[in-house]
Amino acid sequence: MRIGVFVCQCGTNIASTVDTERVAEAARRLPDVVYSTTYVYTCSEPGQQEIQRAIEAYNLQGVVVAACSPRMHEPTFRRAVEKAGLNRYMFEMANIREHVSWISNDREANTKKAIELVRMAVAKLRFNQPLFPSRVAINKRVMIIGGGVAGIQAALDCADAGLQVVLVERKASIGGKMAQLDKTFPTIDCSSCILGPKMVDVAQKENITLYAYSEIESVSGYVGNFTVKIRKKATYVDWTACTGCGVCMEKCPSRKVLDEFNEELSFTRAISIPFPQAIPKKATINPKYCLHFTKGKCGICSKVCPAKAIRYDMTDEVVTEEVGAIIVATGYDLFDPSAYGEYGAGQYRDVITGIQYERILSASGPFGGHIKRPSDGKEPKDVVFIACVGSRDASVGRPYCSGVCCMYIAKQAILTKDHIPDSRCYVFYMDIRAPGKNYDEFVRRAQEEYGVQYIRGRVGKIYPKGDRLVVQGMDTLLGVQIEVEADLVVLATGIEASKGARELAEKLHISYDQYGFFMENHPKLRPVETNTAGIYLAGACQGPKDIPASVAQGSAAASKVLALFARDTIETSPQVASVNERACIACGKCIEVCPYGAIRWKELKGGIKKAEVLATVCQGCGLCNATCPPKAIQLQHATDNQILAEIEELCA
């Protein structure tokens, strides 16, 4: 084989701590290497042209580039060698930046290490074979998991482009957290007025299939061809018949059901429609409270329903959908403030969370849009807001900033002043984080125009005094202790990963970070893609986000799906397992271990059985390769010989 080695200096990223000339010189002495050189930026256009020129001039059959991580530029260089007529798998990379030049300043040790990594890459390359991808058809349907604003935006964008869309929502209505909000910062737009029309659009688009009150059961397949099983949870109401008239809800005798949509500030019935603008506007029975299920008697809803839609014998149903791509938009949950015992959340009724205050402010909320305290229904005059409850606090496992709380506090303080002009609002904060368009101006308006008092410092304790609460804190700017008597305390609880996010990630084979947020493929350059081809992210499931950012990412995910679906077929990686039939002893162990069901029996003449790999299903993990007793099944591009060649080179 005629091999060329290109050692990248990466400007000074590599060259400052690795003697690249010496690496190139050492490479020149390796067997089969006929050409080696250094280049300042190998990934640049002239750098790639230099590789292509050398392939032609020296008749190269294989190329090694010693540069950054292959996770960064392997695809770039594979395309470059392919342009010059080489097979893209006749290429290897040695990572001498992330693994060498950036982790040590010892030039001598680094150079020696770089030389050894190049030697290993050359040793492996000598066993490389040209590989050719196969093509599979794309099923041009998309599934969106989560019907919050990010998922709705993605669904509408895909549907507008003519795709068949399957939208799966865990709750009985789409809308997500945004549907619970009263107004939105920094424009004080009415949240349900701007979200409502989009929700109605989802219901009216013929090419959107909505599965509300449904969860993902299992996911199999691969980009272009996923099979998803969806569990439609029993609602005990036939939604095709239900008209959403609400008569059942009026007549239901079980009235002590805490209303989840109103953040448990009010009661709903055992049979209920989640909120007036719900999509779909259908009733659902909560069997935990329904007297028919708990006591075995009552059947009032069934008697009064004009559409005869009640089905007490309904059970969960699992349906299967085939799609080519999946957008995950499962949103977030809010931090449980009971971790801060000193704030008394859950203990004092007038210490509430930010989202509860949203419901109190909302005209469709528990008090019809009049600000009242949960304890006695009195109008509060002194309202204290506490920022960073479950944000930027490593002691409760939430060292990250939730990004939205500073803004929603400012909004809620402004709204409080609008509702009750003679009220006084106090905000205890650590720092103001307002880095969006018109955001800082908005916070300043709260301070200057509305006279909201901002106190920089944390609250140490809240205790009751009569029917009021005393908030004890520190003003760190003045260096004095401060006590504020309040009628109502609002805790700005932070954003955390949605409950069940980890389980869903495991079903989808996507990664999540230490806090449970889903991981993007690259934090800067691939913020929408996951590590699994064909699965994309939108909204706060990837990390704390406000509404504009969630909507933008929903559209971005939709555009990624459209780009994927612009072609009729996709290439599948040829880095898959393949069976040497002469060596296969038909033990079936590979079939047993394969997580994807990508290996099956094949019958030869005379009834002889052999294992066979379905190249388009195989994901290239190599479990079968390690399992196979006679090593008859080999993972292409990571064969035993290739890995052993690297080991042996280092032993030499």
């Binding site: 991580s69 060498v100 001598e108 990664s511 230490q514 390690a626 080991i647 032993c651």
Partner: protein
């Protein structure tokens, strides 16, 4: 290689088998964050720790490599769903088996590092490299190893 510095002269031969999805990414993250690490380790990228044939570890240790480190995705977070569970079983058995071959089991270590855990990767590499430096050169199988010596003494 004329001017040998003290560090590289004392360098141990350590191989790291890193899965492409988590630990290789974690090592990249550590590099991008410029987290300083010992330079003894040479990384071989494998698709998944499930690809790890115990033979690879044995081949290396028998041939005189001073230490072998295997690192993959955390259990239950494997890119291939279950690959690291198979790896854990195989590598745990291997660890028990090494002393019977006259190889100090401390020369082999497997662990889990995710793509976001650059700092954890730095700790893993630093600790393992230190451990191998303390153990000193691997005499290889066939010559006298620590285990054989102790048997003779017995």
């Amino acid at each position: 290689m004329e001017e040998k510095s003290t560090t590289s002269a004392n360098e141990m031969k350590i191989i790291g088998f890193l899965c492409n999805w988590c630990s290789y990414g974690g090592a990249d993250t550590a590099g991008v964050s410029r987290l300083k690490q010992p330079t003894d380790l040479r990384v071989i990228r494998i698709p998944c720790t499930g690809r790890m044939d115990p033979l690879f570890v044995l081949k290396a240790l028998i041939s005189g490599i001073d230490g072998v480190l295997v690192s993959g995705c955390h259990p239950k977070d494997c890119h291939y769903a279950v690959g690291n569970f198979y790896a854990r079983r195989r590598l745990e058995v291997l660890k028990e088996f090494l002393p019977f071959l006259g190889i100090d089991a401390d020369r082999f270590h497997y662990t889990w590092v995710s793509a976001s855990e650059g700092q954890r990767w730095q700790e893993v590499v630093t600790e393992f490299s230190q451990r191998i430096h303390e153990l000193g050169r691997n005499p290889g199988v066939g010559t006298k190893t620590k285990t054989e010596n102790s048997v003779e003494a017995y």
